[in-house]
């Protein structure tokens, strides 16, 4: 079992503090959902964990099995077992999807122990079939000209091929129609189990109908303000966030009232 521990995390972007002391612990074999209104710092959390160059951690720690993640370069974090399915994946012209995924797999292997081309192709074909992706997507340039839904599916394809210890899914459900959502959820459920932990960031409870979380956390104003089980997500869906604000005495600020 592996554990990802985030303690008292403070993160700024362009000198504006977004995360203000966030705590979260997750183990492999668990799925955590993080919910919260727009602008509360969910993507900031995901970016800080992965090491996005624009986000500055000013205080706190992130550790994976006791190892200091904050000292690692982005690629070292990936090799330590972290994966972020991004809300807005980059487009890379001239680099095919297949070549990229193979490079990513080989980056985790020793020189001389690269995955054989045949084995790679078999696995890629199988996974693309599972995600109901057209085979020609493998030879398209990475995310270039992909629709929103195709990009999300492509993130899950990479997740399934790379098989990280911890996946952070940043609004993997946004912009997906119900069929695409089911496929994406199928992929994540396939990964579930021993050796895999997941943080699913979402704005809507809808995703959680297909991926039942073990834990649900509510983020507001840069902190986790409430944690519970799947029933918490359902209550949020039914009643919105106001009751939590009242319960905790949180004043509305711009960041909280901003809507999607």
């Amino acid at each position: 079992m592996s554990t990802l521990v985030i303690k008292d995390l403070h993160v700024s972007i362009e000198d504006k503090e977004i995360l203000k002391g966030l705590n979260l612990t997750i183990n492999t074999n668990e799925v955590h959902a993080i919910m919260g209104p727009n602008g509360t710092g969910k993507s900031t959390l995901a970016s800080a964990i992965m090491g996005h160059p624009k986000y500055e951690v000013t205080q706190g720690t992130i550790e994976i099995d006791g190892e200091n993640v904050l000292e690692m370069e982005v690629d070292e974090r990936a090799k330590a077992g972290l994966f972020l399915a991004m809300q807005y994946p980059s487009e890379i012209s001239g680099v095919t999807n297949a070549d990229f995924v193979r490079s990513a797999i080989n980056a985790r292997r020793e020189e001389g122990d690269e995955i054989s081309l045949m084995k790679f192709i078999r696995e890629l074909d199988k996974t693309m079939d599972f995600l109901e992706m057209d085979q020609e997507m493998a030879q398209r340039y990475l995310n270039e000209g992909f629709s929103g839904g195709e990009k999300k599916r492509n993130e899950i394809l990479q997740l399934m091929m790379i098989k990280p210890k911890f996946a952070i899914l940043d609004e993997i459900d946004s912009g997906l129609d119900i069929d695409a959502l089911k496929v994406v959820a199928k992929g994540i459920n396939q990964m579930r189990g021993e050796g895999f932990g997941c943080i699913a960031i979402t704005h809507y409870q809808r995703l959680l109908n297909y991926i039942t979380p073990d834990h649900v956390h509510v983020m507001m104003q840069g902190r986790v303000v409430k944690s519970g089980g799947p029933e918490l997500a359902q209550r949020l869906e039914a009643e919105g966030y106001d009751w939590i604000k009242q319960e905790l005495g949180i004043e509305d600020t711009d960041a909280v009232t901003e809507e999607a």
């Binding site: 982005v74 690629d75 990936a78 994946p89 980059s90 012209s93 001239g94 680099v95 990513a104 790379i162």
Partner: protein
Amino acid sequence: MTVETKLALSATEVRSFSQNNNEPAWFGSLRAEAIEKATELPMPTPDKTNITKWNFTEFPQHTVESAPFSSLDELSAEVKEIIDIEGQENLYIQRNNTPAFLKISEELKAQGVIFTDILTAVREHSELVQKYFMTEAVKVDEHKLTAYHAALVNGGVFLYVPKNVVVEKPLQVVFLNDNADASLFNHVLVVADTNSAVTYVQTYVSTIEQSNGQANLIEEVIAMDNAQVTFGSVDVLAKGFTTYVNRRAHVKRDAKIDWALGLMNDSDTISENITHLVGDGSLAHTKTVVVGRGEQKQNFTTEVRHWGKNSEGFILKHGVMKDSAQTIFNGIGKIEHGASKSNAEQESRVLMLSEGARGDANPILLIDEDDVMAGHAASVGRVDPIQLYYLMSRGLSKAEAERLVIHGFLAPVVTNLPIESVKNQLTKVIEGKVR
């Protein structure tokens, strides 16, 4: 090193060179008249690059003798890699100024295809060469360097594809430069007759580190009605050359040209690639990639000029600049009056890998007709840190991520080269240069 002074070859010397070569009289006269013109004509004036201090005229000797190859086994490993030794049916190798190897299939001969070195062609296909040699596409008297070239041509290729002949497999040419005193006044003339189709791929490769010579290269493509020509070139000339390269196409009615140019010289280079879409319904795709490094100064002008109605021209240029390399990209789409319903599109992008490099992309649209479409995109920038972050978040090292982004950026030409071995060579050259 003995250096001849400016235009040291006199008209008399040029004539006697021609006679020693058993060239027909018209060619001897063309050379002699050209050398006279070369003394008077002005230098070309590439936009935004000052070449007044560049030396385009001096060189150690006009021609050097090199041994031909009796078999491909004699090629060095570096050159062998460019060629599919078993599979390449039609192949010409020029070594410095010497025609060194020629292989042409029986099938092509039977179809009437002519594929030979230019000076043999001048002798053996005199009329045909005379009709197209610097008459339609490039003119002798455009400026000093075109005239100088015409006077001193000492190598190159003639390719003629007769009417209705479709050549299925690419023809390949290798211009090997392994003598530091060699100067290349190569002339390539490709004539694709009505309804024909051909793919021609050449490589300029220096296996020396430093040249003392000149490279003054003129390459003409004539695509007759409904002909299709794919012209691929990978240029990897050594430092020390002063390179002037002029690639020009005349494209007639419903004809099509595809240029795929990987311009990887280490020399200072002035390159112009102009396509005249003379016929209605003609089409040009011009794809160019460039890597500049060291102290290199380069100027790349790509122009598509529309004369025919419904003609379409697409220019794509991607350049990577590192060290203190300086590069100008001029992209010109010109639609002449009467070329209605034409479309001129261009995209120029420069990626800067170091603080000291300079890159400049100048898109120019000149339109003399109302009913047309035109567009351009140009950018000069650095590798996007967010792209690197994305790639690294999947475990790729920073160096590997950068390598992928750069390869991707130069992919439009690499993927368009129709010969696998040349494609691999270009990939390797890029790898070596951007490292």
